[in-house]
Amino acid sequence: AATELIFELSQPGRRCHRLPACDVPPESPEPDLPERYRAAAPPPLPEVGEVDLVRHYVNLSTRNMSIDTHFYPLGSCTMKYNPKRHERWAALSGFAALHPYQDEESVQGILRLLYELQEFLGEISGLPAVSLQPAAGAQGELTALLIAAAYFRDQGQTHRRKVLIPDSAHGTNPASATLAGFETVTVKSTPQGLVDLTDLRSKLGPDVAVFMITNPNTLGLFERQIRTITDWLHEAGALVYLDGANMNAILGITRPGDFGADMQHYNVHKTFTGPHGGGGPGSGPVAVRDFLAPYLPVPVVVREGERYRLDYHRPKSIGKMHTFYGNVGILLRGYCYIRTLGPDGLKQVSEQAVLNANYLRARVAQVLEVPHPGPCMHEFVASARKLLREKKVRAMDLAKRLLDFGIHAPTVYFPLVVPEALMIEPTETESKATLDAFADTLARIVQEDPDFLRAAPHTTPISRPDEVQAVKQPILRWQPSGASSSSPPAPAAPAAETPQVVPAAS
């Protein structure tokens, strides 16, 4: 019954929410709404009672794994515990019921909070100028690239059309670069999983605008040559952008500004534990060096004595990325997190995240190949290549089988540079006991019958959905007529070969 769609519960005439009678006098002398604008009937939404609605959505919720119910070592996503206190605070009406166009005098509390958060993020990254506006990491990337474009335009360097991106980068990097109007150039990785300096050198030139680097990178490795890299870029007149997806490894340990980045984004929903919400909302503030500050989106929160205000008067600004000021509700949670942890606590977060990852890496290395030398930072990538060769068991099969043990699957088939990749990020909020249980389970699973593994999971509500069918005959909405959809066949883009599951950068 939980799998019935809400539309299938609809009964004409059934109702849940009711509205008060109208308390203003009727329209006169002419109708308020000319007939030509009026729909004959309201939209054909479902008609259900309150108990139907509640049972439907409550039961549906239990068909998810989540941090609150399971270990969720989804690499690159930093699925750490989401504190309940944040939910209580974010719900305070003094925040939740603020209209974005209230006069500034009436929102001094939230402006102060946002101002302080700007300061915190500037300090943590070593990049002092911050915009909280981007609504997600990918939008943060785009914002930074638009800032770079504006900067070079301002500098008369419109010939800088290229953005260099390592082959291990998140897909958002090249996509954002394209969207910002740049051409992308891929830089190779070494067998050790780091940027291939020779390849980088060969691609550096006067047409390069930005190097987008993820550090620690998506293999969980810190770029040992980071200073060399950033020095080269700066010598070439280019800017260095840090993809901040992996900030959880380096809080208080090292700062992007100190290792040569000029711009970075944060994922507040990762590093500072905004709840992931089944896919969002996220929040992707950007931090930049002072010389790039004029290009930040408007408004920026500024302080004048004891008052705070929104500064829109920034003539070189790229403009706006968001109608209002960003995902304030998520920013608020990030603020509370930073204030809860403090400087020592944040450093301990990274230390523990790295310790957990290395411990789990060492345990997993007893079972699966871990292709890159350690120590790792906050995550690591294992490979099921050998299992595939020997038993035709794929990374995906292991991932699915883990679900049977109440463990969410790691990220699989990413980064693309590792065959049969399993990308594992335990985070600092998991205990040794949980890590041991994961490793023990994995060790047990790899011994299991290959056919059994290829049919896994065996205990979940569904198992191995037909993704090819979903693409070939897309059904993207429920329709009253019955089973088959009028949706057209899928677009011609290549489909069948592509990996089924890949990570979100942002």
Binding site: N82, G94, A97, G278, G280
Partner: protein, 455 residues
């Protein structure tokens, strides 16, 4: 620290297993010269009780719509949120899960999104909706990027009515800044886009036309006529709508709109000082559109036992597979906000949505009559409107919001910051929450705000 799990003993055991003497050793890859050798300059850690006190204080330094009747609009509205919406959205299986890559572990989120997509199709009268975008402003930009692709007029012209929310227009401008297309704003001195003016601006270079109805001033546009004109030159008609208004108004899809975009905040999402909100995007169910749809999509399929189930699908549009060739760089959706909107619309149903829209309409018109009666005030435009309207005021409007707040209201959005010619105007929005008594009191308050020295 509050959220770290391992005790000192466990940490020692883990280090011993690794054969390293301290955690410090694990950071060997970080070159010494870039290590931070001092504590971060941040305020010290606070316990829950201490921070609770401070956060409550910050909250109390704001004047909220929970205390003051709110008549502010401009893209965010104080609609009532039924308690069921909060109850469902606080299920932590929803809010602490992430992207539903592993379908077997994520049927809850996947089915919610599939239902959301369906609800958006039902609401708009269009055939396809994505799993949601960040909010309306960037949603408009994404729609325009789609239209550039659909028409193939990558270096063509994008026309935007001046009546489209000025911040949506500004976001669009930011997104398009480095792309070959050009962007032109179509003036609308009478508060709506005259179809004749549009006609005059259209050409075979026109890739997309963006209109909004109800528009930024609250007025209804002649969407069907505008869409027809756009289609005659092979362009794509993008319309921004107000989801609440569709309880009464003709749906974008029924007016011939190709891509409909909306801010979904009104659908059970708190005002929250501007975000997180919900970008709704729906479009024609045609391959050219589907191929270029940004963001996630959930599709129905069957599992190995033949059970109906849901998966993320058509991912070959997306950045994690197509990288620089992706239709957009988006790799999340506003999942929790889409859930809120779904619960809201389901709670209201067709009848509830109609009644809500009817209440907004009637109360807004009552308010317009009452406020236009205040000496010196008058309706600036004579156009049909839904829940928002514009008043002309005899004098500068900048101080009005503060004056009205001191009299107990969050009200009056001065328009001068976007429209210098409307420096003497402000807009007001009226939702179903506002009572006749509040409207009458606002009229009294406004009467007291009248600048003394003006006629």
């Amino acid at each position: 620290m509050s959220y770290l799990l391992n005790t000192a003993e466990e940490q020692q055991a883990m280090l011993a297993y690794l054969g390293v003497p301290s955690v410090e050793e694990l950071f060997v890859a970080v070159p010494p010269e870039v290590r931070l050798r001092r504590p971060l300059h941040l305020p010290p850690a606070l316990t829950e009780l201490e921070l609770h006190r401070q956060v409550e204080e910050l909250a109390q330094q704001n004047a909220s719509a929970a205390q003051y009747p709110c008549f502010l609009g401009g893209g965010a509205y104080d609609h009532f949120i039924p308690a069921v919406v909060d109850a469902i959205a606080s299920r932590s299986e929803y809010y602490t899960a992430y992207t539903p890559y592993q379908a077997e572990a994520s049927q809850g989120t996947l089915q919610v999104i599939f239902e959301y997509q369906t609800l958006m199709c039902q609401l708009t009268g269009l055939g396809v909706a994505n799993a949601s975008l960040y909010e309306a402003g960037s949603g408009v930009a994404e729609a325009v990027l789609m239209a550039l692709g659909v028409t193939g007029r990558q270096d063509g012209e994008v026309l935007v009515a001046e009546t489209v929310h000025p911040e949506y227009r500004r976001v669009l401008g930011t997104y398009l800044a480095n792309l070959p297309c050009s962007l032109r704003v179509l003036p609308a001195p009478e508060g709506f886009l005259d179809p004749d003016d549009l006609q005059a601006a259209l050409s075979d270079r026109t890739a997309a036309v963006v209109v909004q109805s109800p528009n930024f001033f609250g007025h209804l546009e002649e969407v069907a006529d505008l869409a027809a004109a756009v289609h005659r030159v092979g362009g794509v008609c993008i319309a921004v709508f107000d989801p609440i208004s569709l309880g009464l108004l003709r749906r974008p899809g029924d007016c011939g709109v190709d891509i409909a975009v909306a801010e979904g905040q009104g659908l059970g999402i708190p005002l929250g000082y501007g975000g997180p909100y919900l970008g709704i995007l729906a479009c024609r169910d045609e391959p050219a559109y589907l191929r270029r749809l940004p963001g996630r999509l959930v599709g129905q399929t069957t599992d190995r036992h033949g059970q109906r189930c849901w998966v993320l699908t058509l991912q070959t549009r997306e950045q994690h597979i197509r990288r620089e060739k992706a239709t957009s760089n988006i790799c999340t959706n506003q999942g929790l906000m889409a859930l809120r909107a779904s619960v809201y619309l389901t709670a209201l149903g067709p009848q509830g949505l109609r009644e809500t829209a009817e209440l907004c309409l009637r109360k807004a018109h009552y308010a317009a009559r009452r406020l236009a009666d205040v000496a010196g005030a008058e309706l600036r435009f004579r156009r049909p409107f839904f829940k928002e309207f514009t008043l002309r005021w005899p004098g500068p409007t900048d101080a009005l919001p503060q004056q009205l707040r001191q009299r107990g209201f969050l009200a009056a959005l001065p328009l001068g910051r976007w429209f210098p010619s409307l420096a003497d105007c402000f807009s007001l929005a009226v939702t179903e929450k506002r009572t006749r008594a509040e409207i009458d009191a606002l009229a009294d308050a406004l009467a007291h705000c009248r600048p003394p020295s003006r006629p």
